[in-house]
């Protein structure tokens, strides 16, 4: 069970607009970049998926080990992952 989470808002051209590490447990020192890597990699999946579904909330679009990526896509394709 992952006890840490990372929240990122991604704007146009995959530029992160907002970034927040959430989580109670003592973080791994590389948590920040790991999360970024995972979320960044998930963009590929999201970009495919966002056009195929009308749903805005894409639950568990991608995962890496025990970290699951869920994304909320706005109408303007701003991503809240």
């Amino acid at each position: 069970m992952a006890n840490t989470a990372c929240f990122i808002i991604v704007g146009r051209n995959d530029i992160p607009i907002y970034e927040a590490e959430v989580g109670s447990v003592a973080k791994r020192e590389d948590a920040a970049q790991l999360h970024q890597f995972i979320l960044h990699a998930a963009l590929d999946v999201v970009q495919d998926l966002a056009w195929t579904t009308s749903a805005m909330f894409l639950k568990s679009v991608d995962r890496f080990n025990d970290l699951v990526v869920s994304v909320y896509v706005t109408a303007g394709h701003i991503l809240f992952s």
């Binding site: 995959d14 530029i15 020192e29 920040a32 970049q33 890597f37 960044h40 990699a41 998930a42 999946v45």
Partner: protein, 1291 residues
């Protein structure tokens, strides 16, 4: 889509799922082939792949088909066993390391562009060694018991003709104890095809013996099964093969030595031998076997009856305890038979048959699995058998291009089952995964392939690394390319490579990842990638590249402090290892804020201080408008001169003077949380000397400059040995996140063109950061307005250096920063000209003449402040009114400054209003004896003052109701300061017209002597108009010109009053007047007051460092306040004795009316003979202003005061109906009164009886008009004042 057979998986299967030939040979045979640098198997290997063998095959059906591609796999008998895992692992590792070394040289180059990667053909995206790796990986699993395709199909027995008793050798070779375990333990049929080969070495064996042995062989083993191979025909052994067939199989030995003893004929012979072996022996043998098995199985298992029987039999078998304990299915078991059938059919490319066999056996296994799930250890091997069949089924589906779904399902099923087996199934699952992935790739399902690769990562880092890297390449190949995933998997793979010390590979993967992440804004990702690749480059000794990469992470302000420290430490370590200074253009540590770039230099404008240089140019320009020679004047001024002297090119550039420094302010920001020390910060400049022919300069300017360090090319001297300019060097430390504005200077010492190119600095002595200014717009502070828009950034940093000129330096002494409002200070302006050439024609302009007044001459310096302001020192300085309005102060013409002499000039400062005040002084001067572009210069000084509030005064002046020339003054003082006490000293009226006198003793005004903070005070004075008017002939003007000052303190009686008529108080008052009354029309009828006070006590001594000695408050244009424009007085006797018995008493009165406003007034007097009830005693204007004029009271008045009071308060009823007096004479008159003039109207009353009468029953109706003919603009009515007339019966 590629045809399955031609896909890489198809090729792989063709190679891997092919008949195995077991080779048994004597040591002498090996010896023969070692001459070629090859073993026997290796020699044959290149000739085992047949691209077009063209053998007709008939398996199950009656249909003949032709085999096209065919492969034989040759192995020594000793190699036909399950390979040792450790050895296999080492081999794999070796392979990877080798590949890494091969790639090494590429690593130094820049990472490839992502577009290049995408445009590459598929085959080039992944490195080629992956194929080998995968092959090797699959090979680690070969020769398992249950996989019949790995069971040897044939056996090749090889004996050299040199061997003793060759026939016996043949027999010995196929001795059971030398055979692989597969054959011995019953996993496969030991009765396999045998082929006998005699090797004849042409170099050292005799043909006779060989032919003898051959015939012997033929008689023993049969004619068909024996062959002769003659090799090494080349005696010298130096044959070089054009396309060496062995090169691709043996990479580690130099290719030219391989097969050096083999002639072309030999090779052809080997080729023929293998072709014959395959087509004549192996294939027919397999064909036959397939047919045999098929028949057998059809008999036992096919058809409904057999199916049911099989079911039943299997159930029954369950009852019997399994006693074999070894492999469950020996070669003779039905299951194995079916498996062999399937595999053989697969190898013979009869996929239909293979599939049907696999399907058959698969159901069997499924049943077995259901019944035998409790069988412990055996479950695993059993499952393996089953899964392997599934796997083969999937492959068969694939290769026969049948149902995609089925193929995938089988592979997935197999794969997941292997995965479930845990560690024991891992290798199998790896192979299965690789095949599956290849299958998916062949179908363009790259994404799925990637996920398969990801799943077979396992725990071993090296293995995982390779698999992840393969996964990443799959992501590139997906349409559209999933670059994010590509990057991520590369990074993951790189980390794994690093974990098992494959640094080269780690760098390679990260390098590719950089091409994805190059332009990303995901900071942590970027830092991670660049930092690690930097570290790794350092590990492999490529420090330069390491530094280059590490530079990218230096701007990592968002990272935690610990991370930043690690980054920096490693970075500096690496830099240190390179052992040289790195010059880095665009170093991000510290960050330079280019918008903060300010260039401050002096051309004709010079600045006294930093602060003055930062003031907006427009302020100075507006200030200097009056004093600098205008452009349009006919005289040749410096601008025209310049344009004549210089080509247009230089007109555009800024001008600076040799020997005077150009200052550049630049803000450095530390992006990190840890403090960083920056050293040797200096500008990079170029100075091109002016040659006589200016056109020469148009060429590429040769840099003739010497910086503080000659390491950079810019600051290198080329022409002369001496430096033509000097640069300042600054060292500073920026703590975490700190911003610092740093001033850098360059001082040119020669004429020429000076260009400021950039800035350089050093970090920890080994990194030199360079920042060039060109690309960024810089705002040159002092760029002239007229060419504001034309200036390019480069121009702003380009200067024309002209010959050195005198430069005036000025400073203001004793200037406090904080003052109280009204504070009067004495300052000294000190001007210096250090150069030898004199300057003249000094002029000064001050932005706030209200605040600052220059003294009159140098002598004033000697007098003591503030006593010099007091009266009676015999000073005869007459108040001067010399055109103050222009606010330009011209120093005396004879002043010329030169050398060390300094000019001191007194300056008076008075803080007129509270607030923050910026004072600007600009001093204009002209150079003498200098024929230069510049004729004049200006010195600009700027000071900021903070003026604290102190006393606030306001005056109310109301006319006295009784005396026309006297006015009552009410002064309200409020101490607005927060904590300071003030003493009021003196109140003066300005000018000779108004005399002032106290109304109450000084002591009673302010008993506490000083005004506390926040305290308000009102006190009253009387002022008297002493002006002699031509129209007036007032008798009350008898007073001598009264004094204009009142002392408001009691102690120090001998202290003299301040002289307000003299400078500076007078001049300040002048400016106050013009400021305060700017909007007002000039009204002569106003009073100006000056209140002089002193700070008694400051509770906060630090706020005002030196106590103000004197404060002056000016209140100007105080108008006499009344609600109507008229003032009048009724003049007449106060007491009359009259004998009423004779006649009524007629009293003559005179009313003097004064028009106090500046308009023409028409006044009509209306008298009433009865008292109006309400309005009786209330003179409207008097009471409102809060004071009552009490006329001097006589004895008589006192006696009658009661009567009067009662009459005023509530008149007796008897009086109501009949007034005690009537107005006689004219009852209504209308008189025009000119502005500011008086007129007299005679009045008369008739009194009928003695008494005290209040003659206030009249009204003045007035009308004001601008001109006589104009319509009335305002009008009003005034009630009469009480005027008490006492009429007594005469005796």
């Amino acid at each position: 889509m590629v045809e399955p057979v031609n896909s890489s998986l198809g090729k792989m299967l063709l190679e891997e799922v092919s008949p195995v030939v077991m080779v048994l040979c004597t040591p002498l045979v090996e010896e023969t082939f070692v001459k070629n640098g090859l073993s026997f198997v290796e020699t044959l290997k290149p000739f085992c792949n047949f691209s077009n063998i063209d053998v007709p095959v008939r398996t199950s059906g009656d249909q003949l088909y032709r085999l096209k591609k065919f492969t034989l796999r040759l192995f020594y008998a000793s190699d036909i066993r399950q390979p040792n895992i450790q050895v296999a692992k080492q081999r794999l590792e070796h392979l990877i390391t080798q590949a890494g070394e091969k790639d090494f040289q590429d690593l130094e180059s820049d990472p490839p562009q992502i577009a290049d990667i995408l445009s590459n053909p598929e085959s080039e995206i992944a490195p080629t060694w992956f194929q080998h790796y995968n092959k090797e990986l699959i090979r680690t699993l070969s020769f398992s018991d249950h996989e019949a395709f790995d069971h040897p199909v044939a056996c090749l027995l090889v004996v050299s003709s040199k061997d003793e008793e060759p026939i016996n050798k043949f027999v010995d070779l196929f001795n059971t104890n030398r055979l692989p375990s597969l054959l011995n333990d019953g996993a496969m049929d030991p009765k396999i095809l045998k082929h006998y080969l005699l090797v004849h070495d042409n170099q050292d064996a005799t043909t006779e013996r060989t032919s003898k042995v051959l015939s012997e062989m033929r008689s023993t083993f049969g004619n068909n099964e024996c062959n002769l191979l003659c090799t090494n025909s080349s005696k010298e052994g130096n044959i070089e093969h054009q396309a060496n067939p062995w090169a691709s199989f043996k990479s580690d030995v130099s290719a030219d030595k391989l097969g050096c003893a083999l002639t072309g004929d030999d090779i052809v012979e080997i080729k023929d031998l293998m072709q014959e072996f395959a087509s004549r022996h192996v294939i027919p043998y397999m064909e036959q076997k397939v047919r045999e098995l098929n028949q057998q199985i059809s008999a036992t298992r096919k058809g409904l009856r057999n199916q049911i029987k099989n079911l039943w039999w299997r159930k029954g078998k369950d009852d019997v305890p399994d006693s074999t304990k070894g492999s469950m299915y020996t070669f003779s078991s039905t299951e194995s038979q079916i498996r062999i059938l399937g595999d053989y059919a697969f190898m013979l490319h009869d996929y239909e048959l293979a599939l049907s066999s696999y399907r058959l056996i698969s159901t069997d296994y499924k049943l077995d699995k259901a019944w035998k799930h409790y069988a412990g250890v055996q479950v695993a091997s059993h499952l393996c058998n089953y899964v392997s069949v599934e796997e083969m089924m999937g492959l068969a589906y694939f290769i026969s291009d049948q149902s995609k779904k089925e193929a995938e399902y089988c592979m997935e099923n197999a794969f997941s089952t292997y995965m479930k087996l845990g560690k024991s199934g891992f290798q199998n699952s790896t192979r299965c995964g690789l095949w599956w992935a290849e299958m998916l790739k062949a179908r363009d399902q790259y994404k799925e392939a990637a996920s398969v690769y990801f799943r077979i990562c396992g725990e071993e880092p090296l293995h995982a690394a390779v698999m992840l890297e393969q996964a990443s390449y799959c992501f590139v190949l997906t349409k559209p390319a999933m670059l994010h995933k590509y990057g991520f998997h590369l990074v993951l793979s790189g980390d794994h490579y690093k974990n098992c010390d494959q640094v080269n590979h780690a760098i390679r993967t990260y390098r590719s990842a950089i091409s994805v992440y190059k332009s990303t804004t995901w900071s942590h990702i970027k830092d991670h990638v660049y930092f690690h690749i930097g570290q790794w480059y350092a590990i492999v000794g490529m420090h330069e590249v390491a530094v280059r990469n590490m530079l990218k992470v230096l701007d990592c302000g968002y990272q935690s402090k610990a991370t930043q420290e690690i980054f920096l430490r490693d970075f500096f370590n690496i830099v240190k290892k390179t052992g040289m200074k790195h010059e880095v253009v665009g170093l991000q540590l510290p960050v330079i804020n280019m918008s903060s770039l300010q260039v401050i230099y002096d051309d004709h404008r010079t600045y006294a201080s930093q602060a003055s240089a930062l003031v907006e140019e427009s302020i100075w320009q507006s200030l200097e408008d009056d004093i600098i020679p205008s452009l349009n004047s006919g005289k040749s001024n410096w601008l025209e001169l310049q344009s004549k002297l210089l080509p247009k090119k230089y007109k555009e550039s800024n001008v600076c003077v040799a020997g005077e420094s150009v200052k550049v302010d630049l803000e450095f920001r530390n992006p990190l949380l840890i403090s960083t020390s920056v050293t040797s910060v200096s500008l990079i400049c170029e100075l091109t000397p002016n040659s006589d022919d200016l056109k020469l300069v148009d060429k590429e300017p040769s840099s003739s400059s010497l910086g503080p360090e000659s390491s950079t090319e810019h600051n290198q001297g080329t022409t002369s040995g001496f430096s033509s300019f000097t640069l300042s060097e600054v060292d500073f430390t920026l703590s975490g996140g700190e911003k610092k504005l740093v001033r850098l200077t360059v001082t040119p010492s020669e004429e020429g063109i000076l260009k400021i190119v950039g800035v350089r600095w050093e970090l920890s002595g080994s990194i030199v950061g360079v920042h060039h200014f060109q690309s960024v717009p810089a705002k040159a502070k002092t760029a002239k307005g007229r060419k504001k828009n034309k200036l390019t950034p480069t121009d702003a940093l380009k200067f024309l250096v002209i010959k050195s000129l005198p430069r005036l330096e000025g400073s203001m002494d004793h200037l406090p920063e904080t003052l109280h409002a009204g504070d009067l200070r004495y300052l000294v302006l000190e001007l210096k000209n250090k150069s030898d050439s004199p300057i003249k024609n000094l002029k000064m302009k001050i932005s706030h003449p209200r605040f600052v007044s220059p003294g009159n001459n140098e002598e004033e310096l000697t007098t003591e402040f503030p006593d010099c302001l007091k009266k009676g020192d015999g000073q005869t300085i007459v108040q001067h009114e010399t055109n103050r309005t222009s606010s330009v102060f011209a120093f005396p013409k004879d002043i010329s400054l030169q050398g060390d002499r300094s000019l001191k000039w007194p300056i008076w400062l008075r803080a007129a209003i509270p607030g923050t005040i910026s004072l600007y002084f600009t001093i204009y001067y002209e150079m003498e004896n200098v024929s230069s572009i510049m004729k004049y210069r200006t010195l600009r000084m700027h000071y900021n003052l903070q003026v604290l509030p102190s006393l606030e005064i306001s005056f109310g002046i109301t006319p006295s109701p009784s005396r026309l020339q006297e006015f009552l003054v009410r002064m309200d003082i409020v101490n607005r300061s927060k904590s300071d006490y003030f003493q009021i000293r003196q109140l003066s009226t300005v000018g000779c017209r108004w005399g002032i006198s106290l109304l109450q003793p000084v002591d009673t005004i302010l008993p506490s002597k000083s005004l506390l903070a926040g305290q308000a005070l009102s006190c009253f004075f009387m002022i008297k108009d002493c002006k002699k008017s031509e129209t007036e002939e007032d008798k009350t003007m008898s007073l001598p010109p009264s004094q204009t000052d009142v002392k408001l303190f009691t102690q120090d009686d001998d202290e003299k009053l301040f002289d307000i008529v003299n400078s500076p108080l007078a001049s300040f008052h002048e400016s106050e007047r013009s400021c305060q009354g700017a909007s007002d029309q000039v009204n002569p009828n106003t009073v100006d007051f000056i209140l002089i006070s002193r700070l008694a006590k400051s509770s906060n001594p630090s706020a005002v460092p030196d106590l103000p000695k004197i404060l002056s408050h000016h209140s100007c244009h105080n108008r006499i306040r009344s609600s109507n424009p008229l003032s009048w007085s009724l003049d007449g006797p106060q007491t009359i004795y009259h004998d009423f018995s004779t006649s009524l008493c007629e009293v003559k009165l005179k009313m003097i009316i004064r028009n106090t406003c500046d308009k023409l007034a028409t006044v009509s007097i209306e008298t009433n003979d009865y008292l109006p009830e309400a309005a009786a005693p209330s003179p409207s204007s008097g009471n409102q202003s809060g004071w009552r004029y009490v006329p001097t009271v006589t004895e008589e008045m006192k006696l009658t005061s009661d009567v009067m009071g009662s009459r005023l308060g509530k008149p007796p009823s008897s009086m109501e109906s009949s007034p005690p007096f009537i107005w006689s004479g004219l009852s209504s008159t209308k008189v025009p009164i000119q502005p500011m003039s008086t007129t007299e109207i005679p009045l008369q009353i008739s009194v009928f009886s003695p008494g005290i009468y209040n003659l206030s029953s009249y009204k003045l109706n007035w009308e004001l008009s601008e001109h006589e003919n104009a319509s009335s603009s305002s009008s009003g009515t005034c009630q009469g004042y009480p005027y008490h007339l006492t009429v007594l019966q005469s005796e």
